[in-house]
Symmetry: C2
Subunit: 331 residues, 2 copies
Amino acid sequence: MASLQEVARRAKVSIATVSRVLNRSDKVVPETRAIVEQALRDLGYRPSRVARRLRMKDGRAHLVGLIIPDIQNPFYAEIARGVEDAAYAAEYALLLCNSDENPDKESFYLGVMRDESVDGIILPPFDEADAAVADTIKTGIPVVCVDRSLARARTDLVEVDNYRGAHEAVSHLIARGHRHIGLIEGRTQVSTSRERRRGYLDALAEHGLAPKKEFMRAGDFKQESGRILANELLGLRKPPTALFVCNNLMTVGALAAIHQRGLRVPQEVAVVGFDDLPWAEALDPPPTVVRQPAYNVGQQAMELLLKRIMEPTRPPVTVRLLPELVIRRSS
Amino acid sequence: MASLQEVARRAKVSIATVSRVLNRSDKVVPETRAIVEQALRDLGYRPSRVARRLRMKDGRAHLVGLIIPDIQNPFYAEIARGVEDAAYAAEYALLLCNSDENPDKESFYLGVMRDESVDGIILPPFDEADAAVADTIKTGIPVVCVDRSLARARTDLVEVDNYRGAHEAVSHLIARGHRHIGLIEGRTQVSTSRERRRGYLDALAEHGLAPKKEFMRAGDFKQESGRILANELLGLRKPPTALFVCNNLMTVGALAAIHQRGLRVPQEVAVVGFDDLPWAEALDPPPTVVRQPAYNVGQQAMELLLKRIMEPTRPPVTVRLLPELVIRRSS
DNA sequence: CGAAAAAATGTAAACGTTATCACGCCGATT
DNA sequence: AATCGGCGTGATAACGTTTACATTTTTTCG
């Protein structure tokens, strides 16, 4: 509440001097410095981030934005934690928003972030052609993409090797003797979905298995669609003996569908999911999954963003992290 | 990026006029209004929230802070969603931070929020005596407490009837025939913990059961402590036949401990947890829990905060929501 | 000792808004 | 005809910082 003005008055110096002792920039003679510091303490002065941000050019707001589809999805919650911890370590605050995979919300929040003059933004773009994000990048705000990539713009990117994860998962099922493997994928506009599908197809092909159209279903990443699609697949005349489900929520939905049909896992139908689940060990059965290093994704994204803020012209880099197949009892 | 200045120049009017057409306050003659609006569009003008916030007195930043212990805890994630949705509906942005139940982090973020001149703050206080929160309230920033209450300060509060929830849970176990019921509670400085313990004790007393010290253990709300304490209880010479576990993470930990010991649920040991779990249905077994209306807590907190922002002198209110006993297969 | 150089401090502009006040113009009132 | 109100607008002072520049004080040294 106390402003520079008041501190200056109390210390009987000019506001410039106070500002100087605060920013330890120019030299201030020890005596005055002491006086000013005393006044600072007496008044419990705290600089206004708002005024500071208005005055200064880019990159020193110590505020970054994070837009994620849904904080209730543990995958994104884990990313968020990674970002947050790295931000806190660098004394940055975080403006966190849920886009709900809704372009309008994403747009709204991108606008807010521009208008708040954040130092940078971290997000998984809605899809490869995300126009709102492209526009934001044009304004010059540093953007780091996580999880999903953007087709046109060249930004820093932290992604996971989705192809490899899917390939390993499906190879694992094949190694377990499965020949009829169903695929439940997410929205196909999203780059990760397509990579996972490629991994699935290639793994099949490498083992001389022909993909079947009717075994491949696309959902929307949500639990309910996992349930519905698993039901469809298991309701076929010749159903698959194994399911590869392309994200965490849909995996839970698929398991629910399987339970509902009274099928035993993995004896009657095996399941491998993408994304680990926080309480996987307590699930029935604990599912085999492709675990993404989500915390690292967030952490590295924040570190990349900090680097870019410091050095805006640095050429964009892509960090590709490796997923890990965690074999539990559903396969 | 375009400022009022530039718009004014292009429309050949003063910045005051531009500001007027933006804030539709004073009258502007239709002709000039049209010209200005055209200029606004041409330049793609967006007002700077930062400048606006600096200039205006309290309550119009359209920015509120939310501090929660851990976004990875589904209970808080659900609260956060409730807050976020209500905020978005009112076109407020959210500054979200994790305190990790760490007073220093909480303090840091409270500071950030002061310095950002947020319109208000929503949080579960660290404990009843939370000094950092008390100080923040003194500065005049509207604060709404959720989940936990504050001893001294009189703030708006959205809480859940913890006593009742615990009472119902334990009564349910007693009705199922249990006479030896263990309690795994959280940090006892937190008001909710004590209320839940009261509910436990009263339910026992009402059925003529004497509480046993050795059946009551206090943890720190985290999964690991649930595991450890459940192990302690089940390792007693005469172990309890049922466990009442006072939050979600500790419930998962307790279930893990039980599995590890090879005990069958609910035949050998029954469990009732506090807080619902998002994938309860997929857990083994699906646990009986006291479900808190976390989404509503968040939503109502945000609405209360908005009211207070509009009317700062309104007397504080307490909203008490009812939990619901969801009986599944662990009891 | 005095002038120049160096160091410390002060002044004021700028950041992008909102809001108060003053100004000019026009029709209406005495 | 002089005055008054009202209305639309423009100038300008905040808000709380940082910083370029101006000014004052101190130090250096011939």
